[in-house]
């Protein structure tokens, strides 16, 4: 493990995206930031800029209008990156399985690394999910892997 990988493990920056969730998981993610759960003790910081983020937390079943926004955000994040689907509806569609405007899960749009169960997912579970994702992140090469490269990274790769 080189220095950069170690640093990444010690301080994951998190981007949160609400893809049509009911707010239940979103307020639990916010709870993670506040004094009782305080994920900043793991060095995690909530950022608003996808280019800064290592971890993408997605809540909600993804609807037809924000599908494109989600894909954009994912493609703007630089490799290596992990995606954590928070909550039952982000994992599988859950209770919204028969709603006409829902795609039924984050993995219908972008590849997902960790599925966090629960409706709404508890802060403890969300923290556990992020930590599991970090273990995966540690093993990732800095280079984009085949099959999950973003369009932008592919272009850079081709130009090399």
């Amino acid at each position: 493990m080189n220095l950069i990988q170690k640093a990444r493990m010690k301080s994951p920056w998190i981007l949160h995206f609400n893809a049509g969730s009911c707010n239940g998981c979103d307020i639990e993610i916010l709870s993670c930031l506040t004094p009782v759960y305080d994920i900043e003790r793991f060095g995690a910081v909530n950022v608003g800029n996808p280019k800064h983020a290592d971890v993408l937390l997605v809540t909600g079943p993804v609807n037809r209008r924000n599908e494109r926004v989600l894909r954009n955000l994912y493609e703007q994040m630089l490799d290596p990156k992990i995606v954590v689907a928070v909550g039952t509806c982000a994992s599988s569609g859950g209770v919204f399985h028969n709603c006409y405007n829902c795609l039924g899960g984050v993995d219908k749009v972008i590849p997902v690394d960790v599925y966090v169960p629960g409706c709404a997912a508890k802060p403890e579970t969300i923290i556990e999910g992020v930590i599991l994702g970090l273990e995966k992140l540690a093993k990732m090469p800095a280079k984009p892997r085949p099959g999950r490269t973003s369009a932008e990274a592919e272009k850079v790769e081709a130009e090399r």
Partner: protein, 135 residues
């Protein structure tokens, strides 16, 4: 072709013909009733539309029937706050509303993605064949 006989919780339902709708709504406005919302039911050949008002914590309603294919007059001239629900009627029931103050042209909640409006009866919500990414 059925219609609502009585609704528990609604004090009275006043029937108004389509052309008399605005007068009936204006009468509530003059009595300073608060507009709550409109509710639409798909009744086969026609739509049953209820406009709900609050009068001192009691709910009252004006009902009108709209044959499918006809246009609905907008109440935004009387109650401006009706624009949200009328845009929703355009989106989800495919009703065309005349004289809408702020008109999203059917792109309020969904973006023209479905073959038939999703809240009609007997629709399976088939997606329209996509040509390009909707803008």
């Amino acid at each position: 072709m059925s219609e609502l006989a009585a609704v528990q919780g609604i004090e009275r339902i006043e029937d108004a013909p389509l052309e008399g709708l605005l007068e009936a709504v204006r009468a509530y406005r003059d009595r300073r009733a608060r507009f709550i919302t409109a509710t639409c039911l798909d009744r086969g050949e026609r739509f049953e539309i209820l406009y709900l008002f609050d009068e001192g914590l009691k709910t009252v309603a004006v009902r009108t029937f709209l044959p499918k294919g006809q246009r609905l007059p907008s109440i935004t001239g009387v109650y401006l706050c009706g624009f949200l629900v009328e845009n929703e009627l355009q989106d989800l029931f495919g009703i065309e509303v005349d004289g809408l103050d702020i008109d999203y042209r059917g792109k309020f909640l969904v973006t023209n993605t479905f073959e038939t409006p999703p809240l009609l009866k007997q629709t399976t919500c088939e997606l329209r064949p996509t040509k390009e990414e909707p803008s």
